[in-house]
């Protein structure tokens, strides 16, 4: 374990070696009581943070990074408890404070900005009420007028310009970005010395994310607040924090100045994290075509990487040729002038999809990119005929969707399968994995019970899941495994087209990389056509051949992936590209 280096460079004037750190975590252990005994979520970590510095804890879900944050403010969920170590805030050991003392520390000395702006504001109280109670609780102001004045001030500071007008509004009347500003405002309301931001922007669109983070950065610098930042995104962490702490399974595996860790990661886990971060990757994944290699999972991954380096150029050229050849063949999907108008009660109509046209050549991947609300998921729903188009034409494999009904539509559905974003929500918790995967087979009366079982085995092999999972239930699987099950289910009927709606957005980077590789392999093996819908341009670069950028229902830019990345024409595309966290970071060769 490396010692944390106190200074990162010339700008770091505030720090001198003799000063007492603002936050010092020594050998912290956090345990959760379960039926099988105590599980150590955090297992003896050390973190030192000096005044005015910024530090990011990076790790995948389950690494204990959020638990660390909650332990510092002593708000661990459920059976969580600090079972060892010290948390020294300005010399005071927080592990030994009473609940009453903690109430005085929370808000006033340690501000907290939580992860999900959608669930962290109480839906039944107005924004003003919730900000004002924070101000009153910390004794920042007294008297109704004073408190209200301070609330408006706090919200304005957080970037809500029309705060005075919006105080009476409720959380649901705010967009995600606006809510996150409110939460940042609340976290900073009492001018705390330390601000803990737990994945403050991971639920937001990239462009909104950048605006919020820029604001948070300038605000904390202005106020001299020390920032402890928690994220799963290595690129984001390196861009926003001077110091990095990489956590893995409850332990700190590496820590030090951000730039140094990124350029020269020491621990194998950090190395894999750096290699897998899509925001840092630069080329499309080239399918190796060998399913056997994928089968052996993680171990094979390493050899993959090695293999790729050797004939990267050759496979890239082969891919380019294949895409070119596909362009001359009849396209798998043709969409012409597609429009979807929703009627909104009371306020007329809303055009979600406006005159969208595109073609996807057989065997290639087109990415449909845009922020939430841009209409990309509506396009997917219309393509799957889960939603009827208002006007326009969708032709799938030579058949016009609008005129396809009944039996023919049923047939067509088997050739076109979806994979959705949330691997937790898209699997029925009461069906085991075997039943889940074979459901489309029995719906479409494929073969006998025995051949269906045979096919399920084949599919599990294809998505690199052990056959023993067949009798397990979704809650026993990890997020990545579940998404593999969802992919296996989509492939069950040997479709030609797979619509992937944010299919990797909810996954950790390492898992994301595995799934993306799997998708690339399956594509070259089975000749699949993908419509890949995402808000994350970083992922697009490694999976797509063509990109269509959507903004407010319209396609604003359409080109090959390389063109879009190297030479974006539209300002909106440039904004999206610039917003990829860590995009500007140079990796050491």
């Amino acid at each position: 374990m490396t010692e944390i280096v106190n200074t990162t460079g010339v700008q770091q004037t505030a720090v001198d070696i003799g000063e007492r750190p603002l936050l010092e975590i020594k050998g912290l252990q956090v345990g959760f009581n379960t039926q099988d005994g105590v599980i150590k979520a955090v297992d003896g970590i050390d973190i030192t943070l000096y005044r005015g510095q910024s530090l990011a804890i990076v790790g995948e879900s389950g690494s204990g990074k959020s638990t660390t944050a909650h332990a510092i403010i002593k708000l661990l969920p459920g059976t969580g408890h600090i079972s060892g170590g010290q948390i020294l805030l300005d010399g005071q050991d927080l592990t030994k404070t009473s609940e009453k003392e903690m109430e005085a520390i929370r808000g006033r000395k340690i501000g907290f900005v939580p992860q999900d702006p959608m669930s962290n504001l109480n839906p039944v109280w107005s924004i003003g009420f919730q900000v004002e109670e924070a101000i009153k609780a910390n004794g920042i102001a007294s008297g109704r007028k004073e408190v209200k004045k301070r609330a408006i001030e706090v919200l304005k500071q957080a970037g809500l310009q029309d705060a005075d007008r919006r105080l009476k509004q409720f959380p649901h009347q705010f967009s995600g970005g606006m809510r996150q500003r409110v939460l940042i405002g609340m976290g900073l309301a009492a001018d705390p010395q330390l601000l803990i931001a737990d994945e403050p922007t991971s639920a937001l669109d990239v462009t909104v994310q950048r605006v919020i983070l820029d604001h948070l950065e300038s605000l904390t610098r202005e106020l001299g607040t020390t920032l402890l930042f928690i994220t799963h995104d290595l690129g984001l962490a390196a861009e926003r924090a001077e110091q990095l702490v990489v956590m893995y399974k409850g332990k700190v595996v590496e820590s030090g100045p951000s730039a140094q860790i990124l350029k020269d990661p020491q621990h194998p886990y950090t190395q894999r994290l750096v290699a897998a971060a899509p925001s840092l990757a630069s080329r499309r994944i080239q399918a190796t075509g060998s399913i056997a290699a994928a089968e052996s999972g993680m171990k094979a991954d390493a050899s993959h990487v090695a293999g790729e380096e050797i004939d990267l150029i050759a496979t890239a050229e082969a891919r380019a040729e294949a895409v070119e050849a596909a362009a001359s063949a009849p396209p798998a999907i043709v969409v012409e002038d597609l429009t979807k108008v929703f009627k909104i009660r009371g306020s007329g109509e809303f055009t979600a999809v406006d005159n969208v046209s595109f073609q996807i050549p057989k065997g290639t991947t087109m990415a449909l990119v845009g922020e939430s609300g841009s209409g990309k998921s509506t396009v997917a729903k219309m393509l799957l005929k889960l939603e009827d188009a208002t006007s326009g034409k969708i032709v799938v494999g030579g058949k016009d969707l609008a005129s396809t009904t009944g039996k023919e539509l049923f047939q067509l559905r088997s050739r076109m399968q979806p994979v959705f974003q949330d691997p937790y929500g898209s699997l029925n918790p009461l069906r085991n994995i075997g039943n889940t995967i074979s459901e489309p087979l029995s719906t479409h009366k494929y073969g006998t019970k025995a051949t269906r079982r045979q096919r399920v085995h084949e599919l599990l092999d294809q998505v690199s899941l052990p056959r023993t999972l067949i009798s397990r239930y979704p809650n026993e699987l990890s997020g990545g495994q579940r998404q593999r099950v969802a992919i296996a289910r989509a492939l069950a009927l040997k479709p030609e087209i797979v619509v992937l709606d944010e299919a990797v957005s909810a996954l950790d980077v390492l898992v994301q990389a595995q799934i993306l590789r799997l998708l690339a392999d399956l594509q070259s093996e089975l000749g699949l056509t993908y419509l890949f819908i995402t808000h994350d341009l970083a992922v697009v670069r490694v999976i797509a051949d063509h990109v269509s950028v959507m903004q407010r229902g319209k396609i604003v830019e359409k080109a090959t992936t390389d063109e879009v990345f190297d030479n974006p024409r539209e300002q909106y595309t440039r904004d999206l590209l610039a917003a990829i966290p860590g995009a500007g970071i140079e990796l050491g060769a």
């Binding site: 403010i73 708000l75 109430e103 669930s119 109480n122 609780a137």
Partner: protein, 309 residues
């Protein structure tokens, strides 16, 4: 909002017509001659029977009777009961009693149910929670008449705190015991509902965020946990109030409460068409109004719900 209410009221018209028709039909189809039954063992002279039949339109075909009844209702005339009292008067004397009884029962079950549910939810798995569960299960599994008789025996006879039956004019102190008995049925439901809701709310992110702002537990529990947990509870209470308003036949019978339940039961036994239909019509009306109020209450409790025009 106003548009929404108007639409709901208009929707109530076919419901009301349908239910009165069904009830009227069923009362009509009941076996036995109500006039003959009225005289018990005695045989009245045919002229008397004839006169009574004509007076209550029993000589007319069913559909004609129904329309006569409907026409009268629109004129505000609900008919006359067999004892010669106008049905509207019977309604006016019984509904206030039931209203008081229901209000009292709701008050008891609300105070007890929410208090017990909140404490159980906050101290999930503790001794209080476990004992509350046992008590709830006992109360749920006991038939209401058992609870009523036991209560009468202990509080009425042994301790002498209350009168065992309700006296003339149904004074409030006499209604306390039957209200407590009625409250026991829903107490278990409300305490369990509150408990589940409190546990659910306590795990919400915004509760942790409230604590991270530096709020004390004394503020978080009522403002952020209880307030949010009450949304399903209050709507349950409102629906329960509707149920209690249409009368608790058994309890009213045991405590001799001159309320809706007992009166309706007697009218059914006697086959008094106009009284039964008038009562049921008013009950349907109460149900519709209570349901509308529940929906409106939802919007008050949860700002996310807004009804379009």
């Amino acid at each position: 909002m106003a548009g929404y209410i108007v639409r709901r009221v208009l929707q109530a018209i076919p419901v009301l017509l349908g239910t009165t028709f069904l009830i009227y039909f069923m009362v009509f189809a009941m076996p036995g001659d109500p006039i003959v039954a009225l005289f018990g063992d005695k045989t009245p002279p045919p002229q008397v029977i004839e006169a009574l039949r004509e007076r209550y339109h029993l000589d007319q075909p069913f559909i004609v009777q129904y329309f006569i009844f409907l026409g009268n209702i629109f004129r505000g005339d609900l008919g006359v009961s067999f004892s010669g009292q106008p049905v509207s008067e019977v309604l006016a004397s019984t509904f206030p009693v039931t209203l008081r009884l229901a209000a009292l029962a709701i008050f008891f079950e609300m105070v007890a149910g929410i208090t017990v549910g909140l404490i159980s939810g906050l101290r999930k798995g503790g001794i209080f929670d476990a004992s509350a569960l046992v008590v709830s299960l006992i109360l749920i599994s006991l038939p209401i008449f058992v609870v009523a008789f036991v209560a009468q025996y202990i509080f009425g006879i042994q301790l002498g705190w209350f009168r065992t039956t309700v006296g003339i004019g149904a004074p409030m102190q006499d209604l306390i015991l039957p209200a407590l008995v009625l409250a026991t049925i829903s107490f278990a439901q409300i305490s369990r509902l509150t408990r589940a809701s409190v546990i659910d709310t306590e795990g919400q992110d915004f509760v942790r965020t409230a604590a991270s702002k530096g709020l004390s537990r004394n503020r978080i529990v009522p403002v952020h946990i209880l307030r949010n947990s009450l949304i399903p509870v209050v709507t349950y209470l409102a629906v329960d109030f509707g149920t209690l308003m249409v009368g608790a036949t058994v309890t009213e019978g045991i405590f001799n409460v001159p309320g809706v339940g007992r009166t309706l039961y007697q009218a059914i036994i006697r086959g008094e068409g106009p009284t039964v239909v008038a009562f049921v019509t008013v009950m349907v009306l109460i149900y519709l109004v209570v349901n509308l109020l529940v929906d409106l209450l939802y919007a008050v409790l949860d700002p996310r719900i807004r009804y379009a025009k």
